[in-house]
């Protein structure tokens, strides 16, 4: 009988966690606290404790103070951000338990700013002036916050495996029973047999400058395994890189950050004119992207955020405030960026790019239930893999509209909610049986780019994808024709993926990143084509109105016979408190 060990190193664990940033580590610790006797393995394509976007792009965690108003927050979030597509029950759970979650990760070793009595001190310093008045607060965390979490995880018996890229999930019938992947240094093929699997490896983005490494490998693997996706149409496919260039604070944004009025009101064209004055707007609305495009088209680009004296003063105050970022690691990184600008100048943005950079999207669409479980038995998806698909945020791209701290906040929330459930599942789950032939097929596919002597490199494929989907005119003018064009352009890139070749395992890893990066845009454009209305961050030129009669529905996509099958699911608005 064929032996699985002949194909690669077989590792059996009760729980497999893919991704060792904040979501993965919080899930691992939480699972061990729930069920100390189960074995938990965290696998990361880089190094657990340093990997992911969280330490680079996090810095604050959204939290509701006891005196903050849950009712006002719910009303604002459902009415102004989520546009009634929120799962209001899950949003309530997310909002109400923040303080306890902060105390939990403090207990696990994450340094917190504290007052003279030693109590954790929340701040409102990140509060944009008229976007989220008094509804919520923040806690500042340092860029090395994952290190104590890693230490705690190890103390509790969590095992860690670095430099292994997980590519595909293993299934036994309809149940997920682990995954396969390879070591990006020596190419060792790994077969993970697991009773429960948690995806914690981020959203589908474009290896963004400064902070982005996640390319949607978890989302793509879940999709290929048959998991349902939800709310993909609210993803963003373009990034925004102001000409201020090269510093971490306030200089590289995705569009969701521009919804923050502090940034919006400083949008400036090449002639030095503020767009907010030119277009007479005090708040960002969906059309502001079209305003930017008009400026570029008419020769007044690039558009940038003018980090003026008042903004610099605010930044300086933030950096110098002793009670924030208790270990000063964020400050240290920030100062390095400032020094780079002094030494090398700012990143010049080519005029042709205008304000926008090519992007492969911000898609976080794995559909999960209130236990953060996917639609597949044995599979959970936490953090940015499912912030959109969980639906608590509604009709808005993730992190939801200018709510700084939602990325980390959701990662901790979903991990602490999902992992105990996944741990309890282990107790009653049968031992996984893995099919030798299937593993052999997956292994052949995974290493196929190494067998090709000619073709295209991963970098070329990623560039082709960016070129295909990044033109501003397609994104800012969502209509039937443009969305169909985008889908056909993605399809052209997908055809090229069959020619991907790699000369080493690092580049093989990039090949699988490139393949994963096509899934997010296809999900987003397919869902956007289906939603024949405008709602939240989804704006259709040909259907400019919100249509509550026909579209209080979630769009759900899953793979069937190699294609994207689209269905809808009514939002149970009748049982929710806040109605249109």
């Amino acid at each position: 009988m064929a032996n699985l060990e002949d194909l690669g190193e077989v590792i059996s664990t009760d729980m497999l966690i893919v991704g060792g940033s904040i979501g993965g580590l919080c899930a691992a610790i939480s699972a061990k606290e729930e069920s100390p006797d189960i074995s938990v393995l965290v696998v990361d394509k880089q190094t657990v404790g340093w990997s992911g976007a969280a330490p680079r792009g996090g810095m604050v965690i959204w939290v509701l103070k006891p005196e903050d108003s849950i009712d006002k927050l719910m009303q604002f979030h459902v009415g102004s951000l989520g546009h009634y597509l929120n799962d209001q029950e899950l949003l309530y759970e997310y909002a109400i338990g923040g303080q306890q979650r902060i105390e939990k990760i403090a207990e696990w070793g994450v340094a917190m700013p504290r007052d003279n009595s030693g109590n954790i001190e929340l701040t409102k310093i990140y509060q944009p002036p008229y976007f989220n008045p008094e509804y919520w607060s923040y806690i500042c965390v340092d860029t090395d916050m994952l290190i104590p979490l890693r230490t705690t995880a190890k103390k509790k018996g969590v095992k860690i495996l670095n430099k292994v890229q997980v590519v595909d999930l293993l299934k036994q019938g309809d149940r997920v029973v682990g995954a396969v992947g390879f070591n990006i240094i020596d190419g060792q093929f790994h077969i993970f047999k697991a009773k429960s699997t948690i995806l914690a490896n981020g959203l589908c983005s474009n290896r963004e400058e400064l902070w982005g490494a996640s390319c949607g490998e978890g989302i793509a693997a879940a999709y290929r395994a048959g998991a349902e996706m939800r709310n993909a149409e609210f993803g963003s496919m373009v990034g925004f890189r102001p000409a201020e260039g090269y510093t971490s604070s306030g200089t590289y944004y995705t569009i969701s950050f521009i919804y923050n009025p502090m940034s919006y009101e400083r949008l400036t064209n090449a002639a030095g004119e503020r767009l907010s004055e030119r277009y007479n707007k005090t708040m960002p609305d969906p059309d502001f992207l079209l305003d930017i495009e008009k400026e570029i088209d008419e020769g007044r680009g690039p558009i940038y955020i003018d980090v003026d004296d008042s903004m610099r003063k605010t930044q300086k105050q933030i950096l110098e405030t002793k009670d924030h970022w208790p270990r000063k690691k964020f400050t240290s990184i920030e100062n390095r960026h400032v020094d780079k600008v002094k030494k090398y100048g700012r990143n010049p943005i080519p005029k042709a790019e205008g304000a926008f950079t090519a992007g492969a999207g911000h898609c976080s669409a794995i559909k999960v239930d209130h236990d953060i479980k996917s639609t597949l038995d044995g599979l959970w998806a936490v953090g940015d893999t499912s912030i959109g698909g969980s639906a608590w945020a509604g009709a808005i791209m993730a992190p939801p509209g200018g709510m700084c701290g939602s990325g980390l906040g959701n990662a901790i929330f979903s991990a602490l909610r999902g992992a105990p459930h996944a741990a309890r599942y282990v107790a009653q789950a049968p031992t996984p049986e893995v099919d030798y032939t299937e593993v052999g097929r997956l292994k052949e596919n995974i290493f196929a780019p190494m067998q090709r002597n000619k073709g295209i490199s991963a970098s070329e494929a990623i560039a082709a994808l960016n070129d295909a989907i990044s033109p501003v005119k397609y994104h800012l003018h969502r209509n039937k024709a443009n969305l169909e064009t985008l889908l056909s352009r993605v399809e052209e890139v997908k055809q090229k993926l069959a020619e991907l070749c790699a000369d080493d395992y690092h580049n093989l890893c990039k090949c699988h990143e490139a393949m994963s990066m096509t899934v997010g845009p296809e999900l987003t454009f397919t869902a956007a084509l289906t939603r024949t209305e405008s709602r939240g961050s989804h704006v259709r030129e040909d259907y400019p109105q919100r249509d509550d009669k026909n579209w209080l529905k979630w769009i759900v996509i899953k793979q069937e016979n190699g294609k994207m099958a689209v269905t809808t699911e009514p939002v149970p608005i009748e049982k929710y408190k806040i109605k249109p």
């Binding site: 394509k45 880089q46 190094t47 404790g49 340093w50 990997s51 992911g52 330490p55 680079r56 860029t143 430099k163 990006i184 240094i185 290896r207 963004e208 400058e209 400064l210 902070w211 982005g212 490494a213 090269y246 971490s248 690691k329 240290s332 990184i333 390095r336 960026h337 780079k340 090398y344 100048g345 990143n347 010049p348 080519p350 005029k351 042709a352 790019e353 090519a358 970098s459 560039a463 960016n466 070129d467 990044s470 690092h506 890893c509 990039k510």
Partner: protein, 70 residues
């Protein structure tokens, strides 16, 4: 479409380097690898650098300099 063709340069002062490997751990893009023969870090994939500066910041002897591609 315009695209930056130059790549980031990362300089590591091998004489000053203590060999702690923290820069390799800190890099989230697999840019820096370990050279077993030289027993020093080596900049293997500078084209993948995302300019996060975590390697610089993690280095206990401050022997790394990330030079942006412009």
């Amino acid at each position: 479409m315009s695209r930056v063709t130059k790549i980031t340069k990362i300089e590591i002062d091998g004489d000053a380097c203590s060999g702690c490997k923290l820069c390799i751990e800190a890099c989230f893009m697999d840019v820096i690898r370990w050279d077993d023969e030289e027993e020093k870090p080596v900049v293997a994939y500078p084209e993948d650098c995302r300019l996060c500066l975590f390697c610089e910041d993690a280095c206990p002897v401050q022997c790394i300099e990330v030079i942006p591609p412009w």
